[in-house]
Amino acid sequence: MGAPTQAIRDLSGILPILVLWGVALVILLGAPLLRRGPGSRLAAPLGGAGALGALLVLLRGSSDGFGDTLFAGAALTDTLYSSGAFVLLLGGFLSVLVAQTYLRSRDLEKPEYYAIMLLSLSGALLMMQANDLIVLFLGLELMSFGLYVLAGFARTDAKSDEAALKYFLLGALASALMLYGIMLTYGVAASTELSNVQSAVARGALKEPMGIAAALLLVIGLCFKIAAVPFHQWSPDVYEGAPTSATAFLATTAKIGAIVAFLRVCDTIAGGYHTWLPAIRAIAILSMIVGNLIAIAQTNVKRMLAYSGVAHAGYLLVAVACMGFRLMGTKGTQASILAMTGAVFYLLAYALALIGAFGVLAYLSSRDKDAQTLNDLRGLASSQPAVGYAMVLFMLSLAGIPATAGFIGKWQVFYAVLTGGDVALAVTMALTSAMGVYYYLRVVWYIVFEESAAPKPSPTGHGVEARPRAMTGVGAAITICCIATIGLGILPAAISSFLTVVR
């Protein structure tokens, strides 16, 4: 009698994933009807419904059953998963809104885009829910496959093709390294289940050369996905080449999925921190410095946001580094829990600001013009004040200016690392954040103080087209991102019931 109940518990634990798979299949099966004619208006709403449905299912399920393992230990549900999944699915929903308008205006819309998005989201969810390195790897691959294709979705654009190929080849390399790490982990722990890995680490597995190699390969594989220095080379080209809506999606999804998985893996191997903590600290410091330095030189906003993404990967790695303090006394344990909550909040703030910023670029793009550079934003505050000031807000949030969500996220991670007593990381984080303010404010300068470059709006220019577009998906996405960025900046506690990670 116990077996059916267990099966139902297992399935309800992965219900958000099942919803995503189901809706993706509906879109794929209905693709012939959704491709052209009146049905083509339904593809984006279906994609949005998939992400939103999974989010609602997640919120309904999150009141009971925490810390359960599912499928005899293959997966689990806990607060780290549920809060990460909340951020991920919200980001996915907003990305659908951006894609709806952008793909339509660039004449790229196909129903498969949304199906692939949902499959990619399910992969990221699986990654966060994984209690076994094999499941983690499958989730990572499922997520990445979708992202490779979305990057190359504009097939007539050589840059988009280049982006997809580059992302695919380097992603495949990262996956291979990670798989090798998983194999070596099996070699030292005789299991890939995280609890067994944890006990193997407690027995001193990370003091053996093979354990060290395993941990480092896992770290490298995940660092590729979040584009941390020195594994970031793919990111500027991919961010620039991918269609803007795909850039918004892949930048947030990959980061959320990989960082939550990273937190879980490093939490598991916290016992062997002396092996991996120096590596993570070095990568974090390098990412913060290099990302912020190179971002200053960029005039293409998509590339600038790619390098800023490298810097943000560094800040998030500071939170990951805090996992290593877990076994260093009560302060350390406290720091690791604070860092988990902080990282998830940071991811939420980052996703809101980034999707908002790419949303503004998508908003300004039309069939024959893809807004990408600082010049495209020139004088936006006077020509289209609402969009212009929204972009200003997103830049301030990314820079971490107080009263925006970005500040709260950064503060939480900063506070966690200070609690853990790692002054070097905290100081680097503060200094490089100050450095970052320069290039975010330069965007603000272009928007607010520069004169509009366009002599007069042509009949197809934004002046005419922009009005009706405010009513479309991207307008809604920008509005939601704005409200949430300010709201969370002033009242971060409003969302803490969803986002607090309990250990």
Binding site: G73, A74, L119, S120, S122, L126, L142, F145, M210
Partner: protein, 183 residues
């Protein structure tokens, strides 16, 4: 004596796997590369046999050689002209990449040899018992990864179609015009 035979089998299987694998990546004719995969995959099947994983021997031969390799050959014959046999296969960084990979290989070989392996703790059982255990695992502990792998393949399939499907820009624009005039 048996250990000795095992070593001989291992070394010859290794040669059977690695030498053709080198040919696969170095030969300039894609169809030849496809055929070189055959001994390579048979060698892998031989490793499974050596490990007494009977089910995997069958699967390896049926799926990899019987289905995937044949499929690859079909794909190569349909797209024979995609690669110029005279094209250079290395670039300026080739030597350094080789050096780095060689060092990595030596390091991992050193590490694997020095590792205190526990060895086999229990006999895998006969072919029937193994297959039963595998089947049970696939519907219990490994049900989720198994399904995720299927979805992964579906995603890859869709992805491949989206990337590779022929584009019809003129037809698409005609369709748009038709809609406009119809409306």
């Amino acid at each position: 004596m048996t250990a000795h035979l095992g070593t001989i089998a291992f070394v010859s299987l290794t040669a059977l796997t690695i030498l053709p694998a080198i040919m696969v990546v170095s030969t300039r004719n894609l169809v030849h590369a496809g055929f070189w995969m055959l001994p390579c995959l048979i060698g892998v099947a031989g490793f499974y046999a050596l490990l007494e994983a009977h089910f995997f021997v069958v699967v390896q031969i049926l799926i990899y050689i019987g289905a995937i390799l044949v499929l690859i050959m079909f794909a190569l014959m349909l797209t024979r002209d995609v690669m110029d046999p005279k094209e250079r296969q290395t670039n300026a960084m080739g030597v350094w990449a080789g050096v780095i990979c060689g060092l990595g290989l030596l390091a991992s070989a050193h590490m694997l040899f020095r590792h205190p392996w526990v060895g086999v703790t229990s006999h895998p059982g006969d072919a029937h018992a193994q297959t039963v255990a595998l089947g049970k695992a696939l519907v219990t502990r490994y049900a989720l990864p198994f399904e995720a792998a299927s979805v992964l393949l579906l995603a890859a399939l869709i992805a491949a179609i989206v990337i590779a499907k022929s584009m019809r820009p003129p037809a698409a624009s005609v369709g748009c015009d038709g809609e406009v005039s119809g409306g």
